[in-house]
Symmetry: C2
Subunit: 407 residues, 2 copies
């Protein structure tokens, strides 16, 4: 797989996070010559939070990890790449039990303290006997780098994704590091967006959950590659407490503002990297919706444009075919007044209040379309609802990855 | 444009419908060497019904024609191909007025009795002065064939679409003929699904409207090419009364059963032809959903599978990648129990009650995938809701049509 033309020039420098240990191993189950197991262990008294796919056909590890995340406490997260353990029935739950039982024996912790994430083929039973022999190795060699773990979770991604930030909480410096994988519902059989953010902040689990949910809405929940939702999507936020900041009880306290900014930045960075690794992507499309009747409607409009195959192919073809944006807004059928809609492309007005601008000039717009970063701005003219959605174009590369190569 | 590999071998023989006259003309506005104007005139006392796009950015002619259809009476329907007259603001309404005023003078009828349909570019003002000179010709030469009118309304379709049927109403033979155009939201700038069904039945407008709505749900409302809804979609049903059948007052009367069967058959035939002309289509996919909690959920499941780019590309690649079907069901998030879902492909069981069948054999399924007609069957295991949805595969052809050729 050639690297996406939208890939960052290199993986960022990510510092170690005190209280968080990383490990990888190569089971060779599906991939040869690379790591496919990843372990994150957390210092005692760490807190955790998670957000998970809302799919009705969610994978067995999603049900398992969601229940643990709700307790706010965990000792470790183990991830395998190559098999999603999704739509595997009772056997799927048994596989999760086998993993957590085996690993808890090596780690000396309760099996209910181990969260699990899987990514890969849907519908194939997961044979844990092929992974278990590597658990001891994972536990005994917890000195992997963020770059190492970011690579171990990849399936058909074309580059490893990482981001970091620092902030202050009550006068103490706090670090955040994150890694992610995914490019929509990924190529041939590979599913899933996974993300892991670790911080040394000391924060109660409910505060962590609140911050994660909010940042998630403006990052991973605001991206789309092909409108297809994976059975395994999971985002984990773990906090070791090693920064020893004074406790913060309420997520809305001013003391937490900088942390929430930094968390938002890390998650947005990772989310945009996932779009940039979207299958066949050659352009990153940022869609700003303003003036919608409310926030939810603004999101709906942005996602309808972002998921429209006709909008995405027009952009792939560098065609300033803005009529397709009109179509994508209208097809929602939520009662938007066409006469109030204005559209800008690359900062240039295309349509104003329901019709093409009088002195329409396609030249600067066509020039903008030739770039790698495409900006669409929709002004709905009905209220104060805003949303920003990221997506990529729909190209021959997407078809090649998903249709030409048999899985 | 090469003809779709799924095109029927020839246009069917469609008889004239007593009381319905057809005409075409070539304005040369956008296309050279072909007709682009189409007129259907109706005998006095004809009744009409229509269903229209639910888009919030519906075109000016849609608003106009919907209001007339609601009265149940009309004298004519005029259609232009090449410009959708959509997102054209006040000017768009003025263009419709110009068309109906000009044509009503030639026809000697009220301008409020003329329905209008447009298909083509969105957002460009429609210059009626280029069409009006051809109105006299349309009115004076009303001897076109169904094949002629079926061709005059095409934009980027690769073949003309027609269908017919006969039936009995209270002992009288009744004829139905239909034509249609469309392949989703069509290539480069061309939008719209349009269909016209004419019958010589004598039926009150409310009965006609009821029959149309019902048949529409099981035909044009059950197909999807790319999930994009046009600003101009319109389906017209006109009845001249020339068959002189004894009146039927209620759409649910037994006397109407054969008519409703025939209408359903014509509309389903046209709808499937539209899918077969879907941009880049190489396979017709029929999705049967049974056992859903209700009809609406069955439809949602069918459409989610039919609109999933990953399912459609897998089928394009002749890949029995059924995990993507699981994903497409799950992503709806409507509370379906994964453990109750069974899936058949081409009549072969793939998954039963939430997991792959024990003795899974991909060979017969892979063989089925190499054909042009792909059958997916989903048994939800929750109730009695059923739905059938048609779609096509997603291929390099779709990308080429929509991205490679600039409009």
């Amino acid at each position: 797989m050639t690297m996406s033309p939208l890939a960052p020039s290199r993986f960022p420098e990510l510092p170690a996070i005190a209280g968080i240990k990383l490990a990888t191993a190569a089971s060779g189950t599906r991939y040869q010559g690379r790591d496919d197991l990843m372990l994150i262990t957390l210092a005692p008294n760490s807190t955790v939070a998670g957000v998970f796919t809302r799919s009705d056909t969610a994978a067995a590890p999603v049900y398992w990890s969601r229940a643990i995340a709700e307790t706010g406490r965990a000792a470790a997260i183990i991830t395998n790449a190559g098999n999603a353990n999704a739509f595997t029935g009772k056997k799927g739950n048994a596989s999760v039990k086998e993993i957590t039982n085996g690993l808890s024996a090596c780690l000396g912790c309760d099996s209910n303290a181990i969260m699990v994430a899987s990514t890969g083929v849907i519908g194939e039973p997961l044979d844990v006997s092929k992974l278990a022999p590597y658990f001891t190795e994972l536990v005994n060699n917890q000195n992997a780098s963020w770059y190492g773990v970011a690579n171990a979770i990849l399936t058909t991604d074309t580059f490893a994704k990482g981001a970091h930030s620092t902030c202050m909480i009550n006068g103490k410096i706090v670090n955040l590091c994150g890694i992610a994988k995914g490019s929509g519902m990924i190529a041939p059989n590979m599913a899933t967006m996974l993300a892991y953010i670790a911080t040394d902040a000391a924060l109660p689990a409910p505060v962590l959950a609140h911050c994660l949910q909010d940042a998630n809405n403006h990052s991973f929940n605001s991206i789309t590659v092909d409108s297809d939702t994976s059975t395994n999507d999971s985002v984990f936020l773990v906090a070791s407490g090693a920064a020893k900041n004074r406790p913060v009880i309420n997520a809305n306290e001013h003391a937490l503002a900088d942390f929430r900014r930094a968390l938002g930045a890390v998650m947005r960075d990772l989310a945009v990297q996932i779009v940039c690794d979207g299958e066949g992507a050659t352009k990153l499309i940022t869609i700003d919706v303003t003036g919608a009747s409310d926030k939810a409607t603004a999101r709906q409009i942005g996602l309808s444009i972002a998921n429209s195959p006709l909008v995405k192919t027009a952009i792939a073809g560098e065609d300033a075919n803005w009529g397709r944006i009109v179509m994508a807004i209208g097809k929602l059928g939520v009662g938007i007044s066409a006469d109030a809609i204005s559209i800008n492309i690359g900062g240039h007005a295309v349509a104003k209040k329901g019709a093409r601008v009088a002195n329409y000039n396609e030249v600067p717009i066509s020039t903008h379309m030739t770039g790698q970063m495409i900006d669409l701005s929709i002004i709905v003219g009905e209220g104060k609802g805003v949303a920003r959605i990221w997506t990529c174009d729909l190209t021959h590369g997407y078809i090649s990855i998903n249709a030409d190569y048999r899985s």
